[in-house]
Amino acid sequence: MKIGIIDYGSGNIGSVRNALHLLGHDALLSNVFAELKSCSHLILPGVGSFSGAKQKLEMVLEDSQVAELAENSKAFLGICVGMQILCDSGNENGVTPGYGFFTGQVNPIPGADILPHMGWNNLDRIDVASPLLKGITEEDDFYFVHSYCLVGSRDSQVISSATYGTNFPAVVQNENVYGVQFHPEKSSAAGRKLLENFLEI
């Protein structure tokens, strides 16, 4: 197993690397396609805006390269805005196309009065068959920090949701490509469990 964290200038890659380190794993931090290609497990972090993250990623990887990395890895995980840019599109300042792995648009969280959605929240409708969510229950809280969420998702791709303002997809999966809206690297024991599950895929 070789773990790679895509270092494209968005997302606290240090935190992700540290979380993996606490689990006993080393990860390669890189933005070089050839290096990332050699990894079995890839993580795409991301914070800030959809368009900002997409722009930064485009500066280091072609769309086709992102697609290739996602498709050829054993498992590929987008975190927070990293998950969002893997969706069809984002509506922040106009429409920004995403990488299209997950059906739907990224919109401001419907029905939320206080933004961002900042803090611990639990998952519901957990698809127990998914390897990523093995051993995770509705009692587990994860740390969310976002003002936008996926809407118009495809049911078959949503393996867990959470509630804030509305019920929104918290964990999505399209074959070997996964996305989590929360930050597992900052979610204590529950987050570690999820990361361990990811590495076991």
């Binding site: 240090g14 914070v47 800030g48 900042m118 803090g119 009692e139 024991a189």
Partner: protein
Amino acid sequence: MKKKRIIPLVLFRDGYVIQARNFGNHKRLGLLGPTLTRLEEWGADEIILVNISPGSPDAMTQLGRTDTADEYQYDFYSAVKQHAGRSSVPLTVGGGILEFKQAARFFEIGADKVLINTGFHLDKNLVPHLSKEFGNQAVVLGLDYVEIDGRREVFSHLGKVPTGRTVSEVAQNAEEYGVGEFFLNSIKRDGTKQGLDLEVVNDVHALRTPLIICGGVGEAKQISEALEVDRVDGVAAANYFQHIENSVQLARKSALSAGILVRRVM
């Protein structure tokens, strides 16, 4: 459902964790590393770490101790760097962050959010710049205030300089620029154990940014009473979490018995 948050505030001065009362009367408590480890083991939902050392934020301190595994001489930045890698709950870092590049350095070493207080008043471009680069959610607006007859005036420079502006004015201004949270701290109640200023929510009730309040916690019940207030998202406390054994757990237990949704930590 979203949970309310219990947040230890750790004050760092010249190499040590300190306690305070009305922002003064600093007394040394212990070393940073063991303090942060303990708080995380106790189940803190997140930690706010503030450097209140006088002088340069890069000042080094010689602790002159040989009994610890921590380096005997370090500055705040190195202290954060040492700890951030070991933390698995969010860490907010602040104290003397007046320039963009200072904040950027902290993000690089693993801070999740930066707390901007005096910096907000000195440079009106600081918060917009930070929010644009790192996202709103990474910037916490810290306001220390003195309440007199229901009017809450914001003070900068560790409570020493009156800004002439009220909490509601500054908070509104900051929300327009884009911040992730408000961290409102009552100078009068700091260290007094008389309980939190719950009325402060009135000053921000029309705003949409999550609210953390601080200042005056002496017992768990005060924390859960504050968490019961709809507008309050999190409660922070400094001395309480340093002096009372298992205080994070006590606060959590008190909140759960009152039926407040907080994270359950085994």
